[in-house]
């Protein structure tokens, strides 16, 4: 290599990477600022022309509309901010129950695709393919108009398996009667479950480390299970809905048709996607793990539960988080079938007050917060799953 002391020919500044990088960023920022100020300038000018302002003071005014179903007290002339809170609770009520339901459906369907039963596999495939290839909004309409309204046609009360009653006034499922004894039993069940978990952990530990038979713990677990079953069956004070002489439905827990359709639609829709994630996760576990588990003498069900599924969790959890976010976001479709969620309320407020910008910013902030919370919680969960790896 020949060295030349005057070889450091000066690079023109437009080819010098240092300048170019700063210049590109500055130009992008300038362009964005120009666009932003153009838009916001137009917005303020337009609002001024229409005699409107940009502020959130309307939240203190009386809302003046009704909310179909509420969990916390709400009156027609409560302020707007309270209407938002009440309907946010409705949204949370929907998505939290939805998370549980969709996880159960998705995991069951995902595992079912590995069943050795041909009929189960095909039915499962049909479920996943039908749900994934039709729009969610259409499915919600089907649940609401065709299924639940279809059952409650002509003002009669329809009985479904599991003593679920469907009528125009809602879906009624068996539920606890909420007496003090029922609450005590529920608390006892919870404590029993925690105790059982620790006994189970201890049993595995002493079986592994001391080679003990674990028989004593097994008996303890068995008796806990029997007590739990008895408490569950008789302590909770189950109330089965029944049709009273007046033709109304008495007892049980009542859900509105809107809530029921939203829940069913969201849970089955997201469940199909979760099923695919679970399937991919289980497939990602190498075949050798199955074979090793078999060689150790584990039954297929036990190998799935003890060996394969815990490893599949590492693949499943990260993708699960985006499905939960999708469920939360899709709950905004409640607008279409009239369940009073946060989005429906904000649309009503928007139409009544004309405060389009404020209401839309507010609703975007709310959904972003929900998405953020889900992602933080799922990241924490992901960490614990990854940690148990070694």
């Amino acid at each position: 290599m020949t060295l030349s002391n005057d070889g450091s020919e000066k690079i023109p500044f437009w080819r010098d990477d240092r300048y170019v990088r700063i210049a590109v960023q500055a130009i992008v920022v300038l362009i964005l600022m120009a666009i932003f100020s153009f838009f916001s300038g137009n917005m303020f000018r337009n609002l001024e022309q229409q005699g409107r302002q940009f502020n959130f003071s309307f939240l203190q005014q009386g809302a003046g509309f009704n909310i179909g179903e509420t969990v916390i007290p709400y009156e027609t002339n409560s302020p707007y901010y309270w209407a938002f809170v009440v309907s946010l609770v409705n949204t949370l009520r929907l998505i939290l129950v939805g998370f549980i339901a969709t996880t159960i459906i998705g995991v069951v369907a995902g595992i079912a695709s590995f069943s050795d039963n041909w009929l189960l596999r095909k039915l499962n495939l049909a479920y996943v393919e039908i749900v994934r290839n039709t729009p969610l909004l259409l499915q919600l309409y089907v649940w609401y108009f065709a299924v639940f309204f279809g059952f409650s046609d002509k003002g009669t009360v329809a009985e479904l398996p599991g003593s679920i009653l469907v009528s125009k006034k809602g879906i009624v499922i068996p539920w606890s009667n909420g007496s003090p004894i029922a609450w005590i039993s529920a608390a006892a069940l919870l404590i029993g479950a925690i105790a059982a978990f620790f006994i189970w952990r201890r049993r595995i530990k002493i079986m592994e480390e001391q080679g003990a038979s674990g028989q004593r713990e097994f008996v303890a677990l068995l008796s806990l299970g029997i007590v739990g079953l008895l408490l569950f069956l008789f302590g909770l004070g189950w109330q089965f809905p029944r049709i009273a002489a007046s033709g109304n439905v008495e007892g049980g827990l009542r859900m509105s048709l809107e809530y029921g359709s939203m829940l069913a639609g969201l849970a089955f829709y997201t469940g199909a996607f979760i099923a695919e994630i679970v399937r991919a996760g289980i497939q990602s576990v190498s075949k050798g793990q199955w074979e090793a588990a078999k060689a150790l003498g584990l039954q297929p069900a036990s190998s799935m539960r003890l060996v394969v599924f815990p490893q599949a969790m590492r693949v499943i959890i990260p993708s699960l988080s985006s499905q939960y976010m999708n469920l939360a976001k899709n709950s905004s479709l409640a607008l279409a079938i009239g369940y009073p969620d946060i989005f429906a309320t904000s649309q009503t407020s928007l139409n009544q007050t004309g405060r389009a910008v404020e209401v839309i910013l507010l609703i975007m902030a709310i959904y972003l917060t929900i998405s953020l919370i889900i992602s933080v919680i799922m990241n924490l969960l992901n960490k614990t799953v990854q940690f148990t790896e070694r």
């Binding site: 337009n46 050795d116 041909w118 189960l120 065709a146 905004s332 928007l350 389009a356 839309i360 959904y367």
Partner: protein, 404 residues
């Protein structure tokens, strides 16, 4: 298990390995749990199918479908202009046949069994649908057109393999023609966007927004990967905000906020506003899909390009992006499928796409309460459309792989 002496088991005649009984035993009754499942599921299946069949043949009133067939497909598009829609379908059928033929020129057999079955089913549907006879003949002719152009495309493709590069140009040109045919202008009578509807509007919105979102989506993906912090933050902020809120809020942004952002006096078409929202929405998702593709391109590719003297912009455009896009094709098709389904939300803002027009049909007093029939019908259309696209994307993925 191991107590039986091996000699005993080896002298036993082998159990039936083939035949219906063996299949049943293996797949439906392998153990008591599986047998129980089979019985319960089988009973459920038989009961629901019987219930559905009785409903479909007695209670259901299918008259709502044939009476509104044009509405489902083209909305309130003027009857005198239907030929334009047929022309569009014809162009698309020819082009897809040609592309299919040219892309699979190296395959031993163009029409394998599954494809022939698929075409048979499609032909049966075309003959059986309750449309006027000329339309059924037209549909059959379209199917024939696809098959014929696929065959021609294969023949020509084998002679001139370089023809494949002209396909994308053909698609691009046809797109302009399709837009012209739908909207009118330049020699054709114009059709107001309020009269567009049905499946045509669904496809129009999804195709237009997925195409429009490409430039922005790719820029966002590159921005997110960029070493320049300002660009990266802007890209991340945009992508995460759009992905963190429901599509319906973005549609509301389009419908209520965008008009405020524009200088006074400018009023945009509602359909255009919806397409702007759909485009921004799909750009954020496309950016994430392309980012996946970008991450799969080895660093060595960009470094090799730099070593050859390409600057980073050229290296990205010429070397990295083509590879990244090719890897992302399946996910982009998946995104398109969900976009087709997401366009139903535009119906909530008053557009007459397929679900929106069904709502207005169901609001018609003579068809009130015919929910199940209408939803089954459009559900079947959505299903066939989306399922065919995902099948097609799987085949395309395979064929793109074999060319290497």
């Amino acid at each position: 298990m191991t107590t039986a002496p091996p000699s005993l088991s080896s002298t036993r005649p082998p159990a039936a390995q083939v035949g219906a009984i063996a299949w049943l035993r293996k797949n439906l009754f392998s153990n008591w749990f599986s047998a129980l499942l089979t019985v319960v599921l089988g009973l459920l299946l038989v009961r629901t199918s019987l219930g559905f069949l009785t409903w479909a043949t007695t209670t259901a009133q299918w008259a709502v479908i044939p009476a509104n067939l044009p509405l489902f497909f083209v909305g309130r598009y003027p009857v005198a202009q239907y030929w334009r829609i047929w022309a569009i379908v014809g162009i698309l059928a020819t082009l897809s046949g040609l592309s299919w033929g040219i892309l699979s020129r190296n395959l031993a057999k163009l029409f394998d069994r599954n494809i022939l079955i698929g075409f048979g089913v499609a032909a049966a549907i075309a003959v059986l649908i309750p449309a006027p006879i000329p339309y059924r003949i037209l549909l059959l002719a379209l199917l024939g057109l696809v098959l014929a152009s696929a065959w021609i495309g294969r023949l020509v493709g084998q002679r001139m393999p370089q023809l494949g590069q002209w396909l994308s140009l053909g698609w691009g040109l046809s797109l302009l023609v399709v837009w012209w045919l739908i909207a009118g202008g330049i020699g054709l009578p114009g059709v107001r966007t309020n009269d567009w509807g049905g499946l045509m509007l669904t496809m129009f919105m999804s195709v237009t927004s997925i195409l429009l979102c490409f430039p922005l989506g790719i820029l966002l993906a590159l921005g997110r990967q960029s070493k320049l912090p300002v660009l990266r933050w802007i890209a991340i902020a945009f992508i995460e905000v759009i992905r963190g809120v429901p599509l319906i809020t973005l549609l509301f942004v389009g419908a209520y906020m965008v008009p405020l952002f524009l200088p006074g006096g400018i009023r945009l078409n509602q359909l255009l506003l919806a397409i702007i929202s759909l485009t921004l929405f799909s750009a954020a998702y496309l950016a994430e899909n392309v980012r996946g593709g970008l991450q799969s391109v080895p660093r060595g590719q960009a470094e090799a390009a730099n070593a050859l003297g390409l600057n980073s912009v050229l290296a990205t455009i010429l070397i990295v992006l083509p590879q990244a896009l090719k890897v992302s094709i399946p996910t982009i098709v998946g995104q398109f499928i969900s976009l087709v389904q997401d366009t139903t939300l535009v119906g909530l803002l008053g557009a007459f796409e397929m679900l929106g027009i069904s709502r207005s049909i169901l609001a018609n007093p003579s068809f009130i309460g015919r929910y199940a029939e209408v939803y089954l019908f459009i559900g079947a259309i959505y299903w066939v459309l989306c399922y065919a696209m995902s099948l097609g994307s799987r085949r395309l993925e395979k064929q793109l792989n074999t060319t290497h």
